[in-house]
């Protein structure tokens, strides 16, 4: 299927096809209230408990823009290095559905709040910039529930009117891996900004996926199909892979791709036609007369710009320059804002290199094993910092540190206290170590003889014995030095 991860080509007969992918990501704006009403947006509430008269489209009810949501969209635009449009317009997208109380969705059609921008992906082969076409604000619909009653459909309007940012990429993605990295990067940026929690299980991040194929070398775009509302990266990848192969088969058999909207069936792992271009809804977009054009002042935009936190790309650059981390290490540490915060907390008082190794090694393994987020880490950044420092100062060996780490993972105890209580402090007193070494030498005269005759490999044996007798507490470096002297 592919030679390397970022080179995803589909082969049929003697032809190679490139897959062209564009994403329309729907990101729920992190906001306590909805885009045009004061109803709360809390996830998982009882059906129809977060619905105002505006959300349910009662006669005479009018939308009022939630300024906070506007700020969130502008911040996201800044994070995407995008043009912020000082004038944008809310339009009505008209269609009938039971979970769309107004009979139209308020969205932005011709004049979105955010224009062109870009996102940088870190691929194994290097950096790649993916273009952003636009970001616009729109209302979410409610939810139709078909499986409670055999005869009736129930409607839950809790989501109705919740603010979404639709972030439309250019058709710049070329592989499943790029899709994965793009979504993660987008999510990372929004989490840094606090504009979307990126929680895919709760539907805070969904995407419509546009897929087309073309023969290698062709510069024209093929006819695309849009796969609607895919809610996990894994499903996106499965859907794209199915869809791209379906399209290649059609082309190879001399057929033509129909531009259409398709659904991804997660159970059957296939995409199915939902409606063709001919059946496409005529949404009768027009500017919402209940809302005036949204005009942003330079001051408003600049105030937000001033308060944009350091974003992953900048943070990565700083980590590499200031802490001499590798690009790989920096990537791992900045991809999630909470991880980067943890890292910066740990290295405040200790060695960066060692701390990096402990975080990306032991800590990540622990979190993985327990399926925990860094914010739920059983070991606080302060205590990990202390542990790293104890290793650095030679108070304990790396090996002892691992067992101390395990104990810390149980109750987040101060490593200093663990060491004292369990008497794990490293033995670095030359007199004590000399006693140890003498003991080893005296107990193994044969081995000493062999060593002196040239069997130098035995050196390791003596070190091991000394460490064993000390219960692992002997300073290995000093043991080495002393042994060398004694065995001369």
């Amino acid at each position: 299927m592919s030679k390397n991860k970022s080179n995803y080509l589909i082969k049929r007969n003697n032809n190679e096809y490139e897959v062209v992918i564009g994403l329309e990501v729907h990101a729920q704006v992190l906001s306590k209230s909805k885009l045009f009403s004061e109803s709360p947006t809390k996830f998982g509430s009882e059906p129809n408990t977060q619905v105002s008269l505006v959300d349910a489209a009662f006669p005479g009810m009018l939308p009022v823009i939630n300024e906070f949501c506007i700020k969130q969209a502008v911040k996201t635009g800044i994070g995407l290095k995008a043009k912020i449009n000082k004038k944008s317009i809310f339009d009505r997208k008209n269609y009938f559905y039971a979970d769309l109380p107004q009979g139209y969705q308020i969205s932005q059609y011709k004049s979105p709040i955010v224009g062109e921008g870009s996102v940088v992906l870190d691929l194994p082969s290097g950096e790649k910039t993916v273009g952003i076409e636009r970001l616009h604000l729109e209302q979410d619909a409610g939810k139709s529930i078909h499986d409670i009653d055999p005869q009736n459909t129930f409607v839950d309007l809790n989501r109705s009117g919740v603010a979404l940012m639709e972030i439309v990429s250019k058709p710049d993605l070329r592989s499943l891996e790029e899709v994965n990295i793009y979504i993660k990067k987008l999510r990372s940026i929004m989490r840094y900004l606090g504009t979307c929690d990126g929680n895919m299980q709760e539907g805070s991040l969904r995407a419509d996926v546009n897929v087309s194929v073309r023969k290698m070398g062709s510069t024209n775009l093929g006819t695309r199909c849009e796969i609607k509302n895919v809610n996990s990266i894994k499903f996106m990848q499965m859907a794209i892979d199915y869809e791209a192969n379906r399209q290649v088969d059609i082309v190879e058999n001399g057929g033509k791709i129909d531009q259409e909207t398709r659904l991804f069936d997660t159970k059957k792992n296939e995409t199915r036609s939902m409606r063709s271009k001919e059946d496409a809804h005529d949404y009768r977009y027009f500017p919402d007369p209940d809302l005036l054009p949204l005009v942003l002042t330079d001051e408003f935009i600049n105030d937000l710009k001033k308060n944009i936190p350091e974003l992953p790309d900048e943070k990565k650059k700083r980590f590499i320059e200031k802490f001499k981390l590798s690009s790989y290490e920096a990537n791992i540490l900045v991809s999630d804002i909470e991880t980067s915060k943890y890292f910066e907390e740990v290295i405040k008082n200790t060695d960066v290199k060692l701390a990096t190794n402990w975080i990306t090694g032991e800590l990540f393994a622990l979190l993985n094993e327990r399926n925990l987020d860094i914010t739920e880490s059983p070991i606080s950044a302060i205590n990990l910092s202390k542990l790293v420092d104890l290793i650095k100062k030679g108070t304990i060996s790396g090996k002892i540190a691992k067992s101390v780490f395990e104990m810390m993972a149980e109750d987040d105890k101060d490593p200093q206290k663990i060491i004292e209580e369990k008497n794990l402090k490293q033995e670095s007193d030359p007199k004590e170590l000399e006693k140890l070494i003498d003991k080893v030498i005296n107990e193994n005269p044969d081995k000493v003889k062999e060593f002196k005759l040239g069997k130098e490999k035995l050196f390791g044996f003596f070190v091991g014995q000394a460490m064993k007798i000390s219960g692992g507490k002997a300073n290995p470096q000093l043991v080495n030095e002393l042994l060398k002297k004694k065995l001369k």
Binding site: L53, A56, A57, F58, P59, G60, M61, L62, P63, V64, I65, R92, N94, F96, A98, P101, Q102, G103, Y104, T153, V155, D282, R284, Y285, F286, P289, D290, L291, L292
Partner: protein, 484 residues
């Protein structure tokens, strides 16, 4: 007869404040007359018992600081009233009881007004004769089988027949001014953004504006003062300092420049209307105003543009009436079937006609040719007025091209019905204020109105001009109580 019915709002408030009249007496008088006037079919929902109770409550604890102290008021059934049925004169909302109050009516009650009932109108305010109401047509107090105009026909009829001392209507293309003109009453369409649209059943959002309908200009000034307010719940509400329109009312209009737009001299305009207009000009001159001929070159495009923009917005605004959440629902085999049956049975013909026109002009392939072009025309019409206002302070035109017509006369000819709005529609498209005052009678003794159009937020000026003209015209409505 104690004369209460003939008193203006200002006089009634004065007498209540002086304790010459109680709110109960006043309220009871209007209720009694309303009960004798069922033939006019002005009420969709009566609130008489509750109104009497409230009037008694007011009398027990009167607050004379309020501008509408203890005054009973019937309102157009397009304003949502908490716990009282609000139908928009449509079957689809036949049994809809809001849990909320429109800002406009809330302003009335806060100033001591008492709700008498909800008045008939054209369905969703779509009509010029009050014949499209699901609850039947309204009779004009000026003669049997005569339309009161529309869409605020119930309001105009109730006011002219003395069933309510004042009322409020809504005006999307002339729905306050045309019925005011037909019934010999005063009606003001305020500047767009002056009166909140919150809680008013929407027809065409960018044009709808609520306004006062009264017996004279003083009452109009007072009522406008009460209902106009900045409202955060309506994003198109404008935050400007509202005036004391009644206190500042003056008949001194010396030196005011009044424009006479030649384009309003339409083909086939009756001699009576011409003469009425000329009479207005003379009166203004007598009052010391300077009358200037002006041009509003794009006037002829206003009506077609209006009949694209208004239905377009309506087609979208009325999408919410789908039988899912509230109001009338027809049984259907599935969702689409339920939608189709609900909307087929729930809406009347005129509403359906406009939804279809609106859907058509917004559909892809037609949007640019119709909706977009209509919006451009709208801009040109606004520019026309802006240009005119560089030279004049206000504009005088007839309110309507004719007096009230017979019920049924135009029901089969929607275009001739739409032509009734020819003088009123440009004002809505431009978002500016205009007032219609009774100015004379036609040969059949039916009232005719003159319209004074002002600059945006310059209501005080047109009220002053109207006040001055009113004092010279000394209009008397010829009402015979034929229905009692």
């Amino acid at each position: 007869m104690n004369g209460i019915l003939d008193l203006t709002l200002v006089k009634l408030v004065e007498k209540i404040k002086n304790r010459e009249l109680s709110s109960e007496e006043v309220t009871k008088t209007f209720i009694d007359r309303s009960q004798k006037s069922k033939k006019l079919n002005v009420y969709i929902t009566e609130n008489f018992d509750k109104a009497l109770e409230e009037a008694k409550n007011f009398d027990q604890k009167p607050d004379f600081k309020k501008k509408l102290a203890g005054i009973p008021i019937a309102v157009k059934d397009l304003f949502c009233t908490k716990d009282l049925k609000t139908t928009a004169a449509s079957k689809i909302l036949e049994n809809f009881i809001p849990t909320y109050e429109s800002t406009i009516t809330d302003n009335l009650w806060k100033e001591g007004g008492i709700l008498l009932g909800k008045l008939n109108c054209d369905e969703f305010a779509m009509g010029s004769s009050n014949e499209t109401s699901y609850f039947g047509n309204v009779q004009s107090p000026l003669g049997a089988n005569l339309v009161p105009g529309g869409s605020s026909g119930g309001s105009a009829s109730a006011l002219a027949a003395n069933l309510t001392p004042i009322t409020i209507g809504t005006d999307t293309g002339g729905s306050i001014r045309q019925p005011a003109s037909f019934t010999g009453t005063v009606g003001l369409k305020p500047t767009y953004g002056s009166c909140s649209r919150y809680g008013i059943v929407a027809f065409a959002s960018s044009l709808d504006q609520a306004g006062p309908m009264t017996k004279d200009v003083k009452d109009c000034s007072l009522l406008f003062e009460v209902i106009s307010s900045y409202d955060k719940k309506d994003s198109t509400s404008v935050d400007f300092k509202r005036g004391n329109y009644l206190n500042n009312l003056t008949n001194s209009i010396k030196g005011k420049k009044i424009g006479i737009p030649k384009e309003y001299r339409v083909d086939g305009m009756s001699k009576e209307i011409e003469e009425l207009w000329q009479k207005g000009v003379n009166i203004l001159k007598d009052a010391g105003a300077e009358v200037i001929d002006i041009s509003l070159p794009n006037t002829s495009y206003a009506l077609p543009a209006y009949y694209i923009v208004a239905p377009a917005e309506a087609s979208s605004n009325l999408a919410r009436y789908d039988g899912v959440k509230y109001g009338f629902r027809a049984k259907g085999d599935n969702l689409i079937d339920m939608y189709e049956k609900t909307r087929s049975e729930g809406f009347g013909n005129e509403v359906k006609r406009r939804i279809m026109i609106g859907t058509y002009v917004l559909s892809s392939g037609y949007y640019d040719a119709y909706y977009l072009k209509a919006q451009k025309v709208r801009r040109l019409i606004k520019n026309d007025f802006d240009d005119a206002y560089k030279k004049v302070d206000a504009i005088l035109t007839p309110s309507t091209p004719n007096s009230a017509f017979k019920i049924g006369e135009k029901t089969n000819d929607p275009v001739s019905m739409y032509l009734n709005d020819i003088f009123t529609v440009p004002v809505n498209l431009a978002g500016i204020p205009a007032i219609s005052i009774p100015a004379g009678h036609d040969s059949n003794g039916l009232p005719l109105g003159l319209q004074i159009i002002g600059k945006a937020f310059d209501e005080q000026n047109i009220l002053n001009i109207a006040f001055s003209m009113e004092q010279q015209i000394k209009f008397k409505n010829k009402i015979t109580d034929w229905w009692i």
